[in-house]
Symmetry: C2
């Protein structure tokens, strides 16, 4: 009874939401059907993505922000993405413990996704989960990524507001910002700001940000100092998030950003399905098998084989 | 004159190899043409992939192995993959310095790739680069990944032999092995083995490995202790690598493994091209634009839009 599930989801039922996300994560057709059904009710939640090197305290900050949002009676969902890197599971477990004080609050929904999936799978499942959280009436959806790979960057692309969390001494991140390797976020939080190098760090960040071309009406990226573990600076982060949201709503950039993100999402989903069709054709098609044999025998290079498969026009 | 470049590459010219890899990395058609031309000359190099958490000393180990292989007069190529995570650039730089003693040796070719590329791009470019190194007559190609995300896993899939490098105390990795999250490697190196917890670690690893079903003729994964920075245990690692190669050649699993890897590669390349065609159709096709408008207006969900685009049958 997916319809019943959809209704319970739209009513904000926590267990319905959990069930729905599991369907999506398991790639169950009922999950996609459900997203289709509730999609018109989405677009209201503020989706906020957090990025930054491991160990800077992203989870602690999200825990503190959740508390602050709850004090304003906003419903919160947290989606933690762990691209099934075997080396970060310990960290993830620690993160969950940090969020545990919110587990019993009916206004807070916490979920982690670690499904490795196939090509592009995790990021797509994450967006569907975020849409379901949105449809369930959450006011704020926090997207947290554990690692630092491409999968996480793709996940963060679903956010309306991107927060970069740093800690004093992470000079690499400053270099990356400077070199343009890292996309400029909307809000920067310098966490663990009791560190003696905090002022230096903030000066460096401002220096990098000052290099950006100055335009009238452009969003000025706030650099907030915080000690999330003690709750210091958290209110300032909430204010910065609200200010950014007000800005992108007023400027129309929220719509623009969502349009771009949704377009990428549609492309990623289409590509993912094409890949599946290709895989099926490889398993079933004798001609494709022959091409692969030639590749293995070093008579045909992989790129030419890929080209030949595509020219056959099936998928 | 790509033909001339191909000949110089096959003759082992270092600059030709560097130029060829740049062509591939820049996605220049001449690069793909070149791979096509030299592909029949590939398949001779032993391709060895290294994985493991950051900081365990993978680069130091590769540096030491390079020295050992050179002492046996084997030509070596090292390909370091950094999936352009902004947070690991510092580490990468450090790694390059550790390999610097080999920069002037004509028998050693060192290259790092950090090109972010589009979907699937880095892993594909890395394989093409490895093929070029192979064609240039390198006896051994070391593939090193810096991060721990999906992109790195894909890169490691190109290897004939996979080495997992750990250091005493990395209990998370043991858990991941145990849980089956991490694929079982062919050789395990416990580096920094002067640590007091080394024996405990090795016992734990053997415990996990003992859980695997025992089959006649199955490769027994060696667990080698090393202090790569001091050169200790490096010869044992070389022996383990050679033994693994001899085993997979004798058992026929080398061919099997390469067949599977090449098949995945062909699929990835085909998917990558399909994605590009889709992107072009999105830019140019008014019907696709209309579908996207409906997604932005929340009238059509992303997955249904993806389905509709595919049903049109163009790409």
């Amino acid at each position: 009874m997916p319809n019943d599930l959809a209704q319970r989801l739209l009513d904000g039922d926590k267990r319905a939401l959990a069930r729905a996300i599991s369907l999506v994560e398991d790639d169950d057709p009922a999950g996609w059907e459900l997203v289709r059904e509730v999609y018109p009710q989405t677009g209201r939640a503020a989706v906020i993505g957090f990025t930054g090197p491991p160990g800077v305290g992203k989870s602690t900050l999200i825990g503190a922000l959740t508390k602050a949002e709850r004090a304003k009676e906003r419903d919160v969902a947290v989606l933690s993405i762990d691209p099934s890197s075997p080396f970060t599971h310990g960290a993830l477990l620690g993160d969950r413990i940090r969020l545990s004080e919110h587990f019993l609050d009916p206004g807070v929904f916490i979920r982690s996704m670690a499904n490795r999936g196939a090509l592009g799978g995790l990021s797509e499942a994450a967006l569907q989960a975020a849409l379901l959280m949105d449809a369930a009436g959450k006011d704020v959806v926090f997207l947290e990524t554990v690692g630092v790979g491409q999968a996480e960057v793709d996940v963060i692309d679903h956010a309306d507001t991107v927060v970069l969390v740093l800690q004093p001494g992470s000079g690499d991140s400053i270099q990356a910002l400077k070199a343009g390797v890292m996309e400029i976020p909307d809000v920067i939080v310098v966490n663990k700001a009791d560190h003696p190098l905090t002022d230096t760090m903030i000066r460096e960040i401002r220096g990098v940000l000052a290099l950006a071309p100055h335009e009238e009406g452009r969003w000025r990226i706030p650099v907030v100092r915080a000690e999330a573990a003690r709750g210091t600076g958290v209110e300032e982060v909430v204010e910065a998030l609200d200010a950014h949201r007000a800005h992108i709503e007023a400027e129309g950039t929220l719509l623009e950003r969502r349009r771009r993100n949704l377009m990428n999402e549609v492309l990623a989903l289409a590509t993912f399905r094409l890949r599946r069709r290709l895989e099926a054709s490889v398993r079933e098609d004798a001609d494709v098998q022959k091409l692969l044999d030639q590749v293995v025998e070093r008579r045909l290079d992989p790129a030419s084989a890929a080209g030949s498969i595509l020219e056959r026009g099936d998928p």
